[in-house]
């Protein structure tokens, strides 16, 4: 591209980046405004002083931030473990074993792709209420696993299928069982796919809102997005505590952005394989 065009592209890129980063930057800046300034109307653009009071208020808000962080993290980790425990062996079976009716089983396993979980929450709530899985991190993790399972299974099956048969045949010649082949050949060869699925399970669970809203009614079981959404209308000061809300937004965003930057390559390729089923 020649002269003027190059500068136009550069200018357009800078404008786009500014527009996209501005809301995030403003949220972070609002979270470090001193208490009075954070509640000012009209609002200031840039903080006139630096203060972590908003974070301190969030830290001790209702049950306290540690409880909500633990709930969110605990649910996400459970969902990751559960999804991997279920989908790694299943993907192995689908990739390598002669199972009758395999195609039909695969479609059943991908059922959640066709039926949105938003539509299934009414019966799931009833079922979870019966077996004591409402207000439970395990229950919420099960729900998040159900949402994430088709994606994980799909990515892992493709990854296992792409592993050359010679590799496992060598293992079998050495007298390994199918379990040992999975453990020593398949899992090590599919690390990128396993990382991708764990990553997506984390992001899905950490960010998910409606399911948590439906399943959790006791505030001690709330996840981070849930308590923040509650705090937007319930405050002690007689109005929304905007500084604290943005402190919560900032904290919620950090792990997602970290995961994205650390594992960008996996992230984008995972997204592609998820969208182009």
């Amino acid at each position: 591209m020649k002269g003027r065009g190059k500068y136009l592209v550069a200018a357009a890129c800078l404008v786009v980046c500014t527009v996209m980063l501005m809301p995030l930057a403003m949220s972070i800046l609002a979270s470090v405004k001193p208490t009075e300034e954070a509640a000012a109307s009209p609002p200031t653009y840039f903080p006139h002083g630096l203060s972590f009071d908003s974070y301190a208020r969030l830290w001790s808000y209702q049950e306290g931030l540690p409880v909500y962080l633990a709930n969110s993290l605990g649910t996400a980790l459970l969902a990751i473990v559960l999804a991997l425990l279920l989908t790694v062996p299943a993907a192995y079976a689908l990739a390598r074993f002669p199972i009758p009716g395999k195609e039909v089983i695969f479609v059943v396993l991908l059922l959640a792709l066709i039926i949105p979980y938003q539509a299934l929450l009414t019966p799931m709530f009833l079922m979870f209420a019966k077996i004591g899985l409402t207000n439970s991190l395990v229950g919420l993790a099960i729900l998040h696993t159900a949402i994430q399972l088709p994606f994980s299974l799909y990515v892992l099956r493709n990854s296992f299928s792409a592993i050359p048969r010679e590799l496992e045949e060598a293992a079998i010649m050495d007298g390994s069982s199918s379990w040992e082949a999975l453990r020593w050949v398949f899992i090590p060869s599919a690390v990128p796919a396993i990382v991708t699925t764990a990553l997506f399970a984390f992001i899905t669970s950490w960010n998910e809102f409606l399911g948590a809203l439906v399943m959790m009614s006791r505030s001690s079981t709330f996840t981070l997005p849930l308590i923040l959404a509650t705090s937007r209308t319930e405050t002690s000061l007689g109005g929304t505590d905007w500084g604290m809300l943005q402190a919560g937004v900032t904290i919620s965003i950090i792990p997602c952005v970290l995961v994205y930057f650390l594992l960008q390559r996996y992230y984008v390729s995972g997204l592609m394989s998820g969208a182009i089923k």
């Binding site: 000012a40 396993l109 039926i115 009414t122 709530f125």
Partner: protein, 292 residues
């Protein structure tokens, strides 16, 4: 070892946990939902069979239609912006220079954060007295008094919410478009260059037709996502004014949970699931064809 009856059994053993899980937590709720939709079902009294009464009620329920129409309008409002905007961003950033890569990375950041959390962020930005949107528009002289963005007027609320969601998800379409544009064979583009077509003609006559399938795919993903919208409306308007900004999922949520009309909520969920199914089947057919 992997063949014969024993191989089958071993294979099935590996498959069984996932299969049982899906049967218990997806297939069973689906069947239960169909069954519940035929009942007058609340947690407070025993279920009573009512046949198709819940569906009849849905079709004559004005509020259901208001929410359904609102959801369709929202999808119709946001989808073109996402497609055209995402495509333009992809055209801008498709080549692999440092600045373009950085721009792509930046545009994609909001995709990884939660919709609920981004809605809380924008709930503040659009706040009448405390938000930076009004502050900036006042300072620029675009408006002379603060606008009531959220929860007072359905149209104004939709515009504000759409703006926030466009910011949140536009990177998703862009990334898929970038991949499609990069997959256009360079000799095709070069042949067009030799023919002396302008930059814009190259886009409309060569690149766009060759990436049309991705455009359709992203359109479907966007439509399905919009039809399932909930978080942004629950958080930013809570359905106000007068439930005019309550989407379909929102209305199902209201019936099933605060009102505990579970049978009716199940019937509404069935209607939603069938609507989504139509779009999903088109999407799957489309992606399957693009693999061959």
């Amino acid at each position: 070892m992997r063949h014969g009856p024993r191989g089958r059994l071993v294979g099935f053993a590996y498959l069984a946990p996932a299969l049982l899980f899906v049967l218990a937590f997806t297939a069973y709720p689906l069947a239960q939902m169909a069954w519940m939709s035929l009942h007058n079902w609340s947690l407070l009294s025993p279920p009573r069979f009512v046949g198709l009464a819940n569906y009849e009620r849905a079709f004559s329920d004005t509020q259901f239609w208001v929410s359904f129409r609102f959801t369709l309008l929202y999808a119709a409002l946001i989808t073109p912006v996402l497609i055209i905007g995402g495509y333009l961003l992809a055209l801008l950033t498709a080549r692999n220079t440092v600045l373009r890569r950085v721009t792509r990375t930046v545009v994609f950041i909001p995709v990884v954060i939660g919709l609920g959390v981004s809605s809380l962020l924008w709930y503040w930005l659009f706040s009448t007295d405390f938000g930076l949107v009004n502050r900036a528009l006042l300072d620029l002289g675009v408006i002379d008094k603060p606008v009531l963005w959220l929860g007072v007027d359905a149209t104004v609320s939709s515009v504000a919410i759409s703006a926030s969601v466009v910011w949140k998800v536009i990177g998703f379409g862009m990334i898929l478009f970038v991949a499609a544009i990069q997959a256009v064979p360079t000799d095709v583009v070069e042949a067009a260059l030799v023919d002396g077509v302008s930059h814009w003609q190259r886009v409309t006559r060569v690149i766009l037709p060759l990436t049309l399938r991705t455009v359709l795919l992203v359109t479907l993903v966007s439509v399905i996502g919009s039809l399932l919208a909930f978080d942004q409306f629950y958080i930013m308007t809570a359905g106000q004014p007068r439930n005019e900004t309550a989407t379909s999922v929102f209305y199902i949520y209201l019936n099933s949970f605060p009102y505990l009309k579970l049978g009716y909520g199940a019937a509404l969920s069935m209607i939603l699931a069938v609507t989504i199914l139509v779009f999903t089947v088109i999407q799957l057919l489309l992606t399957r064809r693009s693999h061959q």
